[in-house]
């Protein structure tokens, strides 16, 4: 009971903090639009390519933008924790009776709330730009589940790394180093059929790929359960592993 109320009140704190930075809201809304417009222009000629599964690159790429936004957003989530460590907010909190788990849980959940809102807005903009949703609103909700699991894993991992390093520089280096390859080693930009053989193998070890395959099925084709079940199971595992790592680091490193 205390865990729930503690988490609830801290989620409130985290969301208020984010909403008080107008630039942050502006950037997080405008950025996906830039992705959608810019990339579909750059890769316009790909629309005629075989294997895309659709005659419009926008249609193909929109699910990728949703997944990318969630991945980048949650990968940087650890900076909030780092701020609390740096400012002495965390150690002050730990001297109160607050339930320990609520401190990291509230951070991860608050990141999710922000990312779900962002993902929904991207879906709406994509539809306005002419994207067809094969599975309609229920499909979008299913896509949200996949996205949440992906984001949970990344956000928990990022928080865990923040606790491990306790410093800005290494955290920033690791996140920058990891996110770009993780995006390119997947079928976010290119359909799997067009990827070179080794990359097609590597992507099967990449949680981002499972998210994008699932969301893309839901947008382009419909409920392809053979893909979707695999995505759900793998992403559940990813989220669980991330949370386990985050929890472990919290216990070991939060003093």
């Amino acid at each position: 009971m205390n865990l729930l109320t503690d988490t609830w009140f801290q989620i409130g704190r985290h969301l208020r903090t984010q909403l008080r930075i107008p630039v942050f809201i502006f950037v997080s809304l405008v950025q996906p639009v830039i992705w959608l417009v810019l990339f579909t222009q750059v890769f316009k000629s790909l629309s005629t390519m075989p294997g895309l599964g659709t005659s419009s690159y926008l249609q193909f790429f929109a699910p990728g933008v949703v997944v990318m936004t969630v991945m980048f957003g949650s990968a940087w989530a650890g900076f909030g924790m780092l701020h609390d460590i740096d400012m002495g907010i965390l150690s002050k909190m730990l001297a109160t009776p607050v339930t320990r788990a609520s401190i990291i849980m509230s951070r991860i959940i608050a990141s999710m709330v922000m990312l779900i809102i962002q993902a929904l807005i991207i879906f709406i903009i994509a539809v306005i730009m002419g994207v067809d949703l094969a599975t309609g609103v229920p499909g979008v909700l299913f896509a949200m589940l996949l996205i949440c699991l992906l984001g949970l894993g990344f956000a928990a991992l990022s928080n865990g790394l923040a606790l491990l390093f306790k410093r800005v520089e290494p955290l920033m280096a690791v996140i920058t180093l990891a996110t770009l390859p993780v995006m390119f080693l997947s079928s976010v930009m290119m359909p799997a059929d067009l990827l070179p053989g080794w990359l097609d193998t590597v992507r099967h070890f990449n949680p981002v790929d499972y998210a994008v395959v699932g969301v893309r099925d839901l947008v382009l084709s419909g409920y392809i359960w053979s893909d979707l079940w695999r995505s759900v199971v793998v992403l559940f595992g990813w989220a669980a592993a991330g949370i386990a790592f985050g929890a472990l680091m919290f216990r070991a490193k939060a003093e």
Partner: protein
């Protein structure tokens, strides 16, 4: 009645550093107890053990009636902690900061609302409840920081270097607040400091800690009276630096066997001469040194301070030990070292 009792508290950090090396003390209900010592003496480590942030290597303590090892959760409900770094969320309002802590201490919404008003009044922040903390001055932030440790009316407040990094004027202000809080709320206060003046002005009783051990304990007056008489402080003139130590020795030898001298104590730059009566000792000292052609650069007479107490028991001054950072870059380095 004792609010804090420690039993041979020891903390050894990885690498074998004995930060706290078997300390025993008691803090009585309602008193302000000061832990005075140079940086690195083990003050913060002690406070972190008492407020359950770190586990002792051995020994234990009872805080507000509960054992810090066996019932840390019960201890946390009854203490307030104000760390050296101001641990407030600058991007939230004062009220939001305080309300969040109210929830952590399981107070209901109505009680929190009432107490927020009371506490803002008490720490003289009334009217600033709904301003974002980043608009507060340094002193205001520290007052909010202290207020956050008070919302649940704790039995004990832990204040770790409450005025470190504040300007002298704000420092005096914060002292007043701490004194008033102790009186108004009947809360016992355990504070650490490396400012002698702070310990002297604020604390009912003081423990002087150095290298993980308590050297001496008592009221500020008792400690100062343990050094009888006055202190005559000399600094000397030398032609070359390298014979300064030799000169100090000669000076000490010239004075130490005289009947009016109780004790002498040399530091890097000065010689402290403890005498029964400072005013009458100065002419005799000057005459004695002149006869040995030792030239005096400056001479002063003072009542013994806590620094002299520290000097008497450790042979060093807190000031020299403390190595107070003077530039911003040094402060940054200190901060980085602390984080490691």
């Amino acid at each position: 009645m004792s609010v804090i009792v420690t039993y041979r508290l020891i903390k050894v950090f990885p690498g074998g550093i004995r930060a706290v090396d078997g300390i025993d003390f008691e803090v009585n209900a309602g008193e302000i107890f000061g832990f005075l010592g140079p940086n690195g003496a083990g003050k913060t480590t002690t406070i972190k053990m008492l407020n359950t942030l770190i586990q002792p290597t051995s020994g234990t303590a009872v805080v507000a009636g509960f054992d810090i090892r066996k019932s840390p959760a019960e201890v946390r409900k009854r203490i307030g902690y104000v760390a050296q770094d101001v641990g407030v969320d600058e991007r939230a309002t004062g009220r939001e900061n305080l309300t969040l802590y109210g929830h952590f201490y399981r107070l209901d919404g109505k009680t929190i609302k009432k107490r927020v008003e009371e506490i803002f009044e008490l720490v003289d922040l009334a009217g600033y409840e709904d301003k974002i903390v980043s608009t507060y001055s340094g002193g205001m932030r520290k007052r909010l920081d202290i207020a956050m440790g008070l919302i649940h009316r704790p039995d004990v407040m832990f204040l770790d270097e409450p005025t470190a990094g504040l300007d002298p004027q704000t420092r005096v202000h914060i002292w007043d607040y701490i004194r008033n809080l102790a009186k108004a709320m009947g809360v016992t206060i355990f504070l650490t400091t490396h400012y002698m003046e702070e310990a002297d002005r604020l604390a009912d009783r003081i423990a002087i800690i150095d290298r993980g051990k308590i050297i001496v304990m008592g009221t500020p007056d008792e400690l100062k009276q343990s050094i009888s008489g006055d202190v005559v402080t000399l600094s000397l003139v030398t032609a070359e630096d390298n014979d300064y130590n030799e000169l100090m020795r000669r000076t000490e030898a010239a004075l130490s066997d005289k009947p009016f001298v109780i004790r002498t104590q040399a530091t890097d730059s000065e010689l402290a001469v403890y005498v029964d009566n400072g005013e009458s000792a100065v002419p005799s000292i000057m005459r004695l040194l002149a006869s040995q052609s030792i030239e005096v650069k400056a001479i002063s007479v003072s009542r013994p301070s806590l620094d002299d107490v520290f000097l008497k028991y450790t042979g060093r001054t807190i000031r020299a030990e403390e190595g107070a950072p003077t530039t911003f870059a040094q402060m940054q380095r200190k901060r980085i070292r602390k984080q490691r």
